[in-house]
């Protein structure tokens, strides 16, 4: 944990209520979220669909206005546009201009930053090569496949060589090669000292590359901590063998009983983040309104039920 280092993002008591045109409440998408993200880390924002990940990112960027709470991002409030000079953002779906081609797209976004023309051209070229779109650089984005659009979206997010990169489901729509490249890229960004915040549903990937994660459910923070610590399970052992016959399993059981151990489950091995994720979400559904608990275990005290907590 690197609590001492500078917090790039500080979120305090952030709540967001979506309202309709008349100001009536539609959805409470975020409930009192507090979170620090530090310089140089890769932070994973997890949670089931509709848990408020994208909402959080949009609030950080000032695309949405917080109902309550405060945000400091790169030392500035979210409403300050000048913070965007150092931020790169890949939206959930690539919202780009479909009548532009790859080159024009990067050139356009480049012009929005204070980058000299020569440098802009060089970066455009480098980024197009980096995301493997060299063969399609002159084609309009409306002809692009989903993965190709995703790639150009990523390139667009990096055009200003940002210090803070916000990636909303960066791997969605990418092929396995692209996914691998994406992971390598995120690692590279971290090595360059940049801060990366990403949402993803691919837990194996998150486990691979994230330093710290937060799991949201129904707008509430359920789990926060470093991946390593969250997944460490000191009082259990996992044995991986080749496939066992039922008799062999019985034998193993007997051996374990002899050593006073019990079998908790015999299963095909799963990634442990996936476990944590499922457990967190299931518990959260069982006991709504429960607050942040390290390592996904429920607290012993009865959970405080908030009046507006919506159980799903």
């Amino acid at each position: 944990m690197s609590n001492e280092t500078e917090a790039v993002i500080q979120i305090r008591n952030l709540s967001k209520v979506y309202r309709d045109f008349w100001g009536r409440k539609k959805v409470q998408a975020l409930k009192s979220l507090s979170l620090d993200i530090h310089k140089g880390e890769v932070f994973g924002l997890l949670g089931p669909n509709g848990s408020g990940k994208t909402t959080t990112m949009k609030l950080l960027l000032g695309l949405l206005f917080a109902t309550e709470g405060e945000i400091k991002i790169l030392g500035k409030p979210a409403s300050d546009v000048s913070k965007n000079e150092r931020i790169g953002y890949l939206p959930e779906e690539s919202y780009l201009y479909r009548f532009l081609n790859a080159e024009e797209t990067l050139d356009f976004y480049g012009r929005l930053f204070d980058i000299p023309a020569a440098e802009r051209r060089k970066r455009t070229d480098d980024l197009i090569k980096m995301v493997d779109l060299d063969h399609a650089r002159r084609r309009q984005l409306k002809e692009y496949s989903k993965g190709m659009t995703r790639r150009i979206g990523l390139a667009q997010a990096l055009i200003n060589n940002p210090d803070l990169v916000l990636l909303d489901e960066p791997t969605s729509g990418l092929d396995p090669l692209g996914t691998r490249d994406m992971k390598n890229l995120i690692r590279k960004l971290r090595d360059e000292g940049k801060t990366v915040v990403m949402c993803s549903h691919l837990l194996a990937d998150v486990q691979d590359i994230c330093d710290r994660i937060a799991i949201l459910h129904a707008g509430e923070l359920k789990v926060l901590g470093s991946v390593e610590e969250l997944l460490k399970k000191e009082n259990s052992t996992q044995i991986l063998t080749s496939k066992l016959s039922p008799e062999a399993v019985n034998d193993v059981k007997a051996v374990l009983e002899k050593h006073n151990a019990t079998i908790e489950s015999i299963d095909h091995p799963t990634s442990s983040l996936e476990d944590l994720f499922h457990r967190t979400v299931e518990r959260s559904i069982e006991r709504p309104g429960e607050r942040f608990v390290p390592s996904g275990e429920p607290k012993n005290e009865p959970a405080e039920e908030t009046a507006e907590a919506e159980s799903t």
Binding site: F65, S82, N84, P91, Y95, Y97, F99, L100, R111, F113
Partner: protein, 533 residues
């Protein structure tokens, strides 16, 4: 449409602009403050203050680079969305135009009138709707497809988005207009067979007053019963005189007087024989009256030209000697030249209005007038783009289009009406009071001049009416007066477009909308989350 419009008073215009701006801003700020304070108490005050500071900062740090990037994008978008297909319509229109327009008339100038009117009307009717739709739909589409999301997560200020859009669409409009108007110019020149028909006269109009048949000054001449009462008539063979006072700014060797009078005959007479008219130059101060050497036989339905030389010789009535005078030295007083017009035929009448008689200065080239009119269309395009982009910041495309369209219609036709209600012209002061006062009078069966009873009710009624009038004043000053943008008729009738009466107000009106619209657009985009609306 040949009469010089009143000169535009720039200072008064700016003053009114300031007043309107101030009213709108204070209303806006008041509403914002009240809303913020009722919603979140003291904190609301700071929110508003914070917003104001941010506004100032955003406008101070406006970056031409980003604005230009967005306008380039807008231009590309319009081109790739095939806005330029409008050229095809234009081309088709022109291919068939000559079928319908040729052989209209042999009167000089009439041919040119038809062609020029056609070209300028076609151009504005093609460009304006295209620009209106393009700029009303651009931004809402951008918001709906959320491509604007990606843009505003770059260091782009919302005012840069608005300004960039305005400039981009203006560029599109300019391109379309330039291509069409140049094509139209070449086309007109090829269609009009007689080159000399393509004139661009620069008129100096004078003030017109009359002497009746006994030589007594009157404001108007005789009305011969025309339905349209624009022309006043003087009776022939009497003392009835039309007096024209022309301002003299330059002193050319020859003064060209051009007239176009209407004849009204009380007896048929010799139809071949036209009416005879005597022009005389008069110096009121010295009493000197110099009749021009020849009477003029006026040709009806066409123009008559009289050349006045700088030096004139006439026969003095008393001494019978020839006297030579200088027009500018001896006949011009305080920069004004007085010309008297009399009809010599007894019982015939000569009709005229202010626009029928003018000094014709050196002509400008036809191109000058034509492209000035094009500039008028261009200014209107700018105005439409500015209004449309602004409207599209807070409502969706269809609503924005409708809104701007209504503004244009109101601005085109309803300004005189609003001015009338506002009692701006003291001569046409409405009787019976404002809305509520007149309703009250109707209900109580009072006539419109009876004084209302003193008391609370009367005061309330007057106060409400006063407030309504102020609202209307604001509306009148917010909605652009578009009649000044109509410049084509000048060119079509072979006249130059007056700078002070037409070009300047059009420019000022357009510029006047830039700042308020930018502010409105900025606030509409800043105060709102840009989720699909």
């Amino acid at each position: 449409m040949t009469i010089q419009p009143a000169d535009f008073d720039l200072a008064a215009g700016l003053l009114q602009w300031g007043k309107a701006m101030l009213s709108v801003i204070s209303i806006f700020l008041g509403v914002a403050l009240v809303a913020a304070v009722t919603a979140s108490g003291k904190k609301g005050l700071f929110t508003v203050l914070d917003g104001l500071i941010r506004t100032v900062r955003d406008f101070a740090s406006l970056s031409p680079r980003r604005v230009l990037a967005i306008s380039r994008l807008t231009f590309k978008e319009a081109v790739r969305r095939k806005a330029l297909l409008v050229f095809v319509v234009f081309a088709v229109l022109f291919m068939f135009a000559s079928w319908f327009l040729t052989g209209e008339s042999h009167r000089p100038g009439a041919q040119m009138k038809v062609y020029v009117t056609f070209v300028l009307t076609a151009v504005s009717w093609l460009v304006l709707p295209v620009m209106l739709l393009l700029s009303c739909w651009g931004l809402p589409e951008d918001i709906r497809l959320r491509s604007l999301h990606t843009v505003v997560t770059k260091p782009v200020r919302r005012n840069e988005v608005v300004l960039g859009r305005i400039l981009g669409f203006s560029a599109v409009g300019t391109l379309i207009l330039v291509v069409m108007s140049v094509t139209g110019f070449v086309w007109v020149q090829r269609q009009v067979s007689d080159e000399t028909d393509l004139t661009c006269r620069v008129p100096v109009y004078g003030e017109l007053s009359f002497l009746d048949r006994l030589g007594v000054p009157t404001e108007k001449g005789v009305n011969v019963g025309d339905i349209i009462e624009t022309r006043s008539f003087i009776e022939g063979g009497t003392n009835a005189t039309a007096i024209w006072k022309f301002p003299i700014a330059s002193q050319p060797d020859e003064l060209r007087l051009e007239s176009r009078f209407e004849a009204f005959r009380t007896w048929k007479g010799d139809m071949e024989q036209t009416l005879r008219v005597q022009f005389s130059l008069v110096n009121e101060a010295t009493g000197l009256k110099v009749p021009l050497p020849n009477t003029v036989n006026i040709a009806e339905f066409s123009t008559n030209e009289v050349i006045v030389n700088k030096t004139l010789t006439y026969k003095d009535n008393i001494t019978g000697k020839d006297v030579t005078v200088d027009v500018y030295q001896d006949l011009t007083t305080d920069g004004t030249l007085q010309i008297h017009v009399q009809c010599l035929d007894r019982n015939q009448y000569l009709g005229m209005s202010q626009g029928d008689f003018f000094i014709r200065l050196a002509d400008r080239s036809f191109a000058t007038g034509y492209f000035k009119a094009v500039a008028g269309i261009w200014l209107l395009i700018m105005l439409v783009v500015i209004l449309s982009v602004t409207a599209s910041c807070f409502v969706k495309g269809p609503v924005a289009s409708l809104l701007v369209f209504s503004l244009i219609i109101i601005g085109q036709f309803f300004h005189p009406f609003m001015a009338k209600i506002l009692n701006e012209n003291p001569e046409e002061k409405l009787k019976g009071g404002g809305t509520f006062e007149s309703i009250y009078r109707l209900v109580r069966h009072m006539n419109e001049t009876t004084a209302l009873p003193e008391g609370f009710l009367t005061n309330t009624i007057k106060a409400v009416d006063g407030a309504l009038v102020n609202c209307l004043w604001l509306v009148q000053h917010i909605i652009p007066d578009l009649s000044t943008f109509k410049m084509a008729p000048y060119v079509a009738s072979g006249f130059d477009i007056p700078w002070n009466g037409s070009m300047l107000p059009a420019i000022v009106i357009t510029l006047g909308y830039v700042i308020p619209c930018l502010l409105i657009g900025y606030f509409s985009l800043s105060l709102r989350e840009l989720e699909a609306k």
